[in-house]
């Protein structure tokens, strides 16, 4: 023992550094692959990264405080101090658009992570155990999918009351069926493979089977699923805000801003309509195309097709 221990300490260090290096190198190779395979997606990935940066650095980037109203400059069209104009109580639209990205992205990431993860675990369990549990789960998922997304989210958000948490939960619930279906299908096909059967033959417990042998194979489809749903989640969040069941008013969100513009008078000022909507469109476009790129790389079937 006393003799081997120093050796072990010496031995572990280079190994761990090598592992770190190879991890970095693997990441770099992944990025290079991504750029080479779909340059357009790489561009849009940069746009998405820019939007995330905008959300994080909002206090630095925004020229004004998003809630500060200036009653000398109410409903002014875009002109130098206020590049995107001001709303009916003199708040700077540019700053509000920048801050709006925070709400959008928080809700989108929160809801998609929560919803697809719950759905994926559910799908994993129902695909793995099968039988009665699977049948009941399938029916439940079918019931949930009988609602158009936005309507279910509206009903849940209305029942739970306004707030960012409830919006996240409401959108997350509409994502559960997708996660459940996709992962269940993956698990069903995996269950037939001989390595899984071998693991079972060796006496692995259910938990170990699921966690060690089946779950790792679900990561790629899970990532594809999650990224493709980000865009939808952003649109649902904006729609909820626009319909008045989203995050409650003082907080600037793109949907709320569009709803506010309709309250500004008979004819909404064009700058209050144009800019928040453009922010939604560009963000959704960026995340959709990023999702497409990730799918192209991770989906083995598509990978074969590209070559």
């Amino acid at each position: 023992m006393s003799v081997t221990q120093p050796n072990a300490v010496i031995a572990t260090q280079p190994v761990s550094r090598a592992a770190e290096l190879s991890w970095l190198r693997r990441a770099a190779r992944g990025v290079r692959l991504f750029v080479r395979r779909s340059p357009m997606s790489a561009v849009w990935a940069c746009v998405a990264a820019g939007i995330i940066f905008m959300a994080v650095a909002a206090p630095v980037l925004a020229p004004y405080a998003p809630l500060k109203s200036d009653f000398r400059r109410m409903t002014k069209p875009p002109e130098p101090p206020h590049y995107f104009g001001t709303d009916q109580i003199g708040r700077d639209t540019l700053s509000r658009v920048i801050y709006g990205s925070r709400a959008s992205l928080t809700v989108a990431f929160g809801a998609v992570l929560l919803g697809t993860t719950v759905g994926a675990l559910w799908g994993l369990a129902s695909g793995y155990f099968g039988g009665r549990f699977d049948i009941v789960s399938q029916r439940l998922i079918e019931f949930m999918q009988s609602f158009p997304d936005l309507i279910l989210a509206m009903a849940i958000a209305m029942a739970l009351g306004a707030g960012m948490g409830t919006v996240i939960v409401a959108i997350a619930i509409t994502r559960i069926p997708f996660g459940g279906r996709v992962i269940r299908a993956v698990v069903l096909s995996l269950k037939e493979l001989s390595y899984v059967e071998a693991a079972r033959g060796l006496g692995a417990s259910h938990l170990r089977m699921m966690a060690r042998h089946i779950l790792p194979q679900c990561i790629a489809p899970y990532l594809i699923l999650a990224t493709t749903h980000l865009g939808v989640a952003i649109i649902i969040e904006a729609s909820l805000g626009f319909l008045g069941v989203g995050i409650p008013p003082p907080m600037p969100t793109w949907g709320n801003m569009l709803a506010d513009s309709l309250n500004a008078g008979l004819v909404p000022p064009w700058w209050l309509v144009l800019f928040p909507g453009m922010a939604i469109t560009i963000t959704v476009l960026a995340f959709n195309l990023l999702g497409d790129g990730i799918r192209d790389i991770l989906d083995p079937r598509l990978r074969g097709a590209v070559k």
């Binding site: 009988s146 209305m158 008045g244």
Partner: protein, 318 residues
């Protein structure tokens, strides 16, 4: 075929019951006091305990949940759908008055999505990676990202700015004044139709590209049919099967999308009623409308499935 229809309808009936339970659970059982939903958090705190109990009893909310559910089912079966808190008319009248407008919008938008989406897909698929293909793909990707209600607001604004035109805001029946009715319906239908057309063009393109590689299409070419005939008679019918299924799924997109879009255009349809119900916190109207939308969605999808089965024997004989 008949056994398939019966099976599909039976499934549909189970789904409708399940849907009603989900709606009930969401609207009544989820944490969140219905009185808070109705009066708002501030209004709720001003009510005395006695008032609260009275309101609950009056609204039938103090009965056991099972009874509440059965009462609701009885209201639906009797065709009245219960009443609204804030309006004198009952929900059934509201649906009859406003429903046709939304139905027209949905129908027109589906027609429009096919009229726009399929030709675009054919042009794309015939010359993959050409300029026109790339352009149409970019436009469809763009339209997947544009929120319909925002596009609607822009259209309303642009028409006002440049032509001083605003669609009439009153609800006009198709049979009384078709022209005014069309003016109300066409805006939302275009917005929702273009949104669907983007999905349809994408799907039809990839499905056409797959079908074009099949042997029977090559045979048709080899025996000397013109390109146009090969596409329209041989390739398209098979390529459109998945597009029909997608179109059924997209009906959910139309039904849900019509809510913010009708709000953007100020169209007095059912979607607008749902928007009002949410903002007036009218739980009962909301509950019935959500149920109605879900049932319509389920029924239309059964219709789509039956159409597919009718067109494709492989499904019928499964």
């Amino acid at each position: 075929m008949y056994s398939y229809i019966v099976r599909r309808l039976a499934f549909g009936a189970v789904t409708v019951v399940g849907v009603s339970i989900v709606v009930f659970v969401v609207m009544r059982v989820l944490p969140g006091d219905p009185l808070i939903a109705i009066f708002g958090p501030e209004g709720f705190t001003k009510l005395t305990a006695e008032q609260r109990a009275n309101y609950m009893a009056e609204l039938g909310l103090s009965d056991p949940l099972v009874f509440q559910y059965l009462h609701w089912m009885r209201d639906i079966a009797s065709g009245s759908f219960g009443r609204s808190f804030f309006r004198s008319e009952n929900v059934a009248d509201m649906i009859l008055r406003r429903g046709p407008l939304t139905a027209e919008i949905a129908f027109l938008s589906v027609v429009l999505s096919w009229v726009v989406g399929i030709p675009v897909a054919v042009v794309s698929a015939l010359r993959p990676n050409s300029l026109s293909d790339n352009l149409s793909r970019f436009i469809s990707i763009l339209f997947l990202a544009v929120p319909g209600f925002w596009l609607g607001m822009l259209i309303v604004l642009a028409l006002l700015f440049w032509f001083g035109y605003r669609a009439p805001l009153a609800n006009v029946s198709l049979f009384i004044d078709p022209l005014a009715n069309l003016q109300i319906v066409i805006g939302p239908a275009i917005v929702l139709g273009l949104g669907q057309a983007a999905y349809i063009a994408r799907m039809a393109r990839s499905s056409l590209l797959e079908v074009i590689r099949e042997d029977y299409v090559r045979t048709a070419r080899a025996k000397g049919l013109s390109g146009r005939l090969v596409i329209s008679l041989h390739a398209l019918p098979n390529a459109l099967l998945p597009v029909i299924t997608l179109s059924g799924i997209l009906l959910g997109f139309v039904l849900a999308g019509s809510i913010p879009v009708e709000r953007a255009f100020g169209t007095p349809g059912l979607g607008y009623a749902m928007f009002s119900a949410v903002n007036e916190r009218d739980v009962f109207v909301m509950q019935n409308l959500v149920f109605l939308y879900a049932v319509v969605f389920v029924l239309l999808n059964i219709l789509v499935d039956l159409t597919i089965a009718w067109l494709d024997p492989r499904i019928r004989y499964q």
